[in-house]
């Protein structure tokens, strides 16, 4: 089935005229129709547009002039990315009917690469969450066990790749929202360096932390996706004017002589023994491939979570102030006056987690509290960054677990704090703005995927991908697929 294939395998078929983009799009759309009622990854399926784009790609392959590796490839987009003319909700009721009049830069770049967009994927509301249970619409299921969560906030993006409902997808990562669901769903998930990919058109959650990145079936696909979206954008003042290397080129370099750091603070009491076992086995494999491992210390790791839960909500409370019923989205009717309209609209349109974080963030920025909370958290952020800088003086990459446990059951984590603890290994990487990937590293006895995280220096996605690729090459985890029927 074409839907089993990776991007690079599909591309080869297209170029050999063995298959057409329309056939691939049709297969994916059929599979979505058959299986998505179970997985619930998609919020919006754009079948007509997808087939139209696929037909255009068909023509290009026929004349032997394809646009590149993504031409004709069916992809899904997290519903936090603005797509012109296509409903974009950020997983929230407050944007229920919102149709952006413009494309996010990454969406435009994918279109220029000839990609075929299948639809918009479910997520935790405004990217706040670690399970996709906070979606204003419905919860997405983990394809490996439908009674469990796919992770979040990019749960739909991860589940879609795991269930072969898209060849690859884009998600976003602010505190782990790509890497954690990738680990839970057994896919590759890459968070680039902050500033590597343009945020223009990304519905903002935490401006200094958000990054867009791919979910993919293997590391090579992730590299191809990153290649298409990375690069400076004049519309995003925080996007870096750093040249984009050829990510695919260095992939096969291997890890001979590569210095790999193992952070002591990531192997703590709360770490599930099965996860630990899988990660340690992965480290052994890397050693077997020639990597040199050494212990590193990231002493401020435990403070990262606390700092993140000040900075993230503070920036979010500001970014979400615009959702007020005036220009777009929901407006609750029957308000007495403007303030009543604002409060009722936001009260009705935002879910519980979003309200919690908006309250927390507003509090942290309010008069008298700024220094103690936001000011303090930004200083702790510096300390977390310095930890990584020091470690990277000695090693090239850092390898660690992605999450403290495998996917938990729907409804299991009701207490917000216990939900927040899911991100303890991913958050410091966002605070430091570094690139990180999660790759499949095995399964628990219960058949749930476990992820291995590789963290690199700023703008050194090449080293991260190369390490991930070497590990992947020595394992078969990524080839396993969940049993979903159809």
């Amino acid at each position: 089935m074409l839907t089993d294939l990776t991007i690079h395998e599909l591309g080869a078929r297209f170029r050999q005229n063995d298959a057409t983009p329309t056939e691939a799009a049709r297969e994916y759309l059929d599979r979505i129709a058959a299986l998505d009622p179970k997985v619930k990854a998609y919020l919006t399926v754009t079948a007509e547009a997808a087939l139209a784009r696929a037909a255009e790609a068909d023509a290009r392959f026929k004349t032997g002039a394809p646009l590149g590796p993504l031409d004709g490839v069916p992809l899904g987009l997290k519903d936090v990315l603005c797509t012109r003319g296509v409903r974009t909700t950020a997983g929230s009721k407050i944007l229920e009917g919102f149709v952006p009049p413009y494309d996010a830069t990454v969406v435009a770049r994918l279109a220029r690469a000839g990609a075929v967009i299948l639809g918009k994927l479910n997520m935790d509301e405004f990217a706040m969450g670690s399970s996709t249970e906070n979606s204003g619409y419905f919860a997405t299921r983990n394809p490996w066990d439908l009674s469990r969560v796919p992770g979040g906030s990019s749960g739909g993006s991860a589940a879609a790749v795991a269930a072969d409902l898209a060849a690859a997808t884009l998600g976003t990562d602010t505190g782990g929202s790509i890497r954690q669901p990738a680990a839970f769903c057994g896919t590759v998930g890459l968070k680039p360096t902050y500033g590597r990919v343009s945020r223009y058109g990304l519905i903002a959650f935490a401006s200094s932390l958000d990054q867009i990145g791919p979910f993919a079936k293997d590391v090579e696909d992730a590299a191809l996706m990153l290649q298409a979206i990375a690069g400076h954008d004049p519309m995003d003042s925080t996007s870096a004017a750093v040249p984009v290397p050829d990510y695919a080129a260095g992939l096969g370099q291997g890890v001979e002589g590569l210095k790999v750091g193992i952070p002591a603070e990531y192997f703590i009491e709360g770490l599930d023994p099965e996860v630990e076992t899988a990660v340690r086995a992965a480290i052994e494999i890397l050693k077997g491939l020639g990597a040199k491992t050494e212990s590193v210390s990231l002493p401020h790791t435990e403070y990262g979570l606390a700092a993140y839960y000040v900075i993230g909500p503070a920036e979010a409370s500001s970014n979400l102030a615009r959702y007020d019923g005036v220009k777009y989205g929901l407006r609750v009717p029957g308000a007495r006056d403007l303030i009543d309209m604002y409060s009722r609209t936001r009260g009705a349109g935002f879910g519980a987690e979003v309200k919690r974080r908006v309250m927390l963030g507003t509090y942290a920025l309010s008069a008298g509290y700024y220094d103690a909370y936001y000011g303090k958290a930004q200083k702790v952020r510096t300390l977390v960054q310095r930890d990584f800088q020091k470690a990277f003086e000695r090693v090239d990459v850092i390898v660690a677990p992605t999450t403290p446990s495998a996917a938990f059951r729907t409804g299991e984590k009701e207490d917000p704090l216990s939900m927040y603890l899911n991100d303890v290994f991913t958050i410091p990487v966002n605070l430091a703005g570094l690139p990180g990937v999660s790759v499949p590293a095995g399964f628990t006895k219960g058949g749930l995927p476990v992820g291995l995280q590789v963290i690199g220096k700023a703008f050194d996605e090449a080293a991260v991908l190369r390490t991930a690729k070497a590990y992947e090459g020595a394992t078969e985890w990524h080839k396993k697929k969940p049993e979903l029927g159809a």
Partner: protein
């Protein structure tokens, strides 16, 4: 019993600042949850950050600017298309009362 990190009055004040209408049940729940979260965040206080500069941008950059060249605006229809209450060429909002 440790002092609550946030009082009900503060919850109401913050809700007003944030323009969020909360039911009484929501307010109580919010107070409890925020209390828990703020207690957790308090561990930051233990950290000595004397002389440590704050980081507001993960990757240091300065002077990102653009030239003063006009770019076509989006058509009025596009910009008004999502308006919850449109009045001709304008967005309409309900009665404004100064607080």
């Amino acid at each position: 019993m440790p002092e609550p990190k946030i009082t009900m009055r503060e919850v109401e004040q913050v809700a007003r600042l944030a323009r969020l209408a909360l039911s009484d049940a929501e307010k109580e729940r919010m107070r409890r949850e925020l209390d828990g979260i703020l207690s957790y965040i308090d561990k930051l206080r233990a950290l000595d950050t004397e002389g440590v500069p704050p980081t507001s941008h993960a990757v240091p950059m300065t002077n990102v600017m653009r030239e003063d060249e006009p770019v076509p605006s989006l058509p009025q229809a596009d910009m008004l298309a999502n308006a919850p209450d449109r009045s001709g060429d304008f967005f309409r909002v309900p009665k404004i009362i100064e607080e």
